[in-house]
Symmetry: C2
Subunit: 233 residues, 2 copies
Amino acid sequence: MKLEILTRNEHKELHNNIIANIRDLINNKNLEPGDKLPSERMLSERFGVSRGNVRETIQKLEFYGILKSKPQSGTFVADIGPVAMNGMMNDILGLEDPDFKSLVETRILLELKTVRLAAQRRTNDDLKKMEAALESYKEKVLNNEDAVQEDLLFHLAIAQACRNSTINRMMLIITPEIINNFEKYHVCDKNQGPKRIREHQDIFEAIKEQNTQKAKEMMKIHFKELYKYCYNI
Amino acid sequence: MKLEILTRNEHKELHNNIIANIRDLINNKNLEPGDKLPSERMLSERFGVSRGNVRETIQKLEFYGILKSKPQSGTFVADIGPVAMNGMMNDILGLEDPDFKSLVETRILLELKTVRLAAQRRTNDDLKKMEAALESYKEKVLNNEDAVQEDLLFHLAIAQACRNSTINRMMLIITPEIINNFEKYHVCDKNQGPKRIREHQDIFEAIKEQNTQKAKEMMKIHFKELYKYCYNI
DNA sequence: TATTATAAATTGGTTAACCAGATTGGTTTG
DNA sequence: CAAACCAATCTGGTTAACCAATTTATAATA
């Protein structure tokens, strides 16, 4: 067999191709939830790809909760039913790469919630962590250094304090992409340093006081320019 | 070397162990954004694990945007800076498995947004897809069959219509887990069929009319019992 | 016949050898 | 001295052979 090195995009295409193949296979064979898929070897042969690629793709579908593989036993269709599975696989195949606008829109949505939940649920330990993150942010800004990372870490500390592991996970997923785009589009203007510190401080105080309304308002103010940047340009 | 088969949990432990090792390595060697990590072979030898495990872990960290690997070149620290990287890695290591409550709380948050955005942005094509999903849901319910999947697919159709790929992706991530827990806890009572159809219909109409306020209100009504279930029990 | 014991085949997981593109250091050449 | 060239080396990606747990088929036994 000819060996070929693929670029990142070709790699994604290959994955999508295998996903579509698995979807069709499940449909044609009328596999129900809990049924076993053909073995990885069979699949790789049938699809004309390497077993490693099949394994990677299965891992991806496991991440989305569509398949489950058991060691020394087989790979199984998850308990979500053929209809949902079909729909989800099609959605996954149609997923576009996230654009900056959708990232910011999502971040604002998530954080207006995390800040309220954090105000309700934060423990003293959470407060300490947030305060530490806030301090290192202030230090960087006052030294006139770039503080994008410390900025985001403060927000992640809030996400942790909201005591919702799912929202927390989603914040983690979008944070690196946010950072990359921030630096790409130069969203953060350094001149606003003291103002940003004030805003962070206000958010922290509101969470400390467990004032959910104020926490949300302060976060809104903090996001004001980001929001403008997202929708005006 | 002794060969050992690991359970799912031991596997996760192994991954977390490797993540922690990579984190420490980056810290000790003071690697900056864009710097190259030691090769996979080196890492596997240094950490005392197989190269395959190292590759899996790197893939995971790539998913979170912390590392980037280039074919025939190496694996590189992403452009998010050491501080953010450290914080994110620690967060990833501390991530708990999502509990039902956090899933429902997140779903409500996301969907109250998707429904408003869908009302604003839906195309005619989106409407057709939503209507199709709605029809197959009605058919199932009227035949007194289980319609959890069709239910969720209608909601995913709304998510698609909201034209925000990031929110859409997050809906996809939580949907299978929601379905599993629904069936696990028997949240859906079949008796409520006609009522649920009415609610879905109302949501669809509001989106069709591009009435964002009504769309949100209808979704809130639809989630009323789910909300109660999430917070009372 | 039903049940248990046993061996063969199948499975996902693991490992190590191999591939071709990328990098690097030294050499030649203008 | 600088730039172009080339071969040795290093890299992530790929492949195929191997491992042990599991499942299935078969045989022995009550």
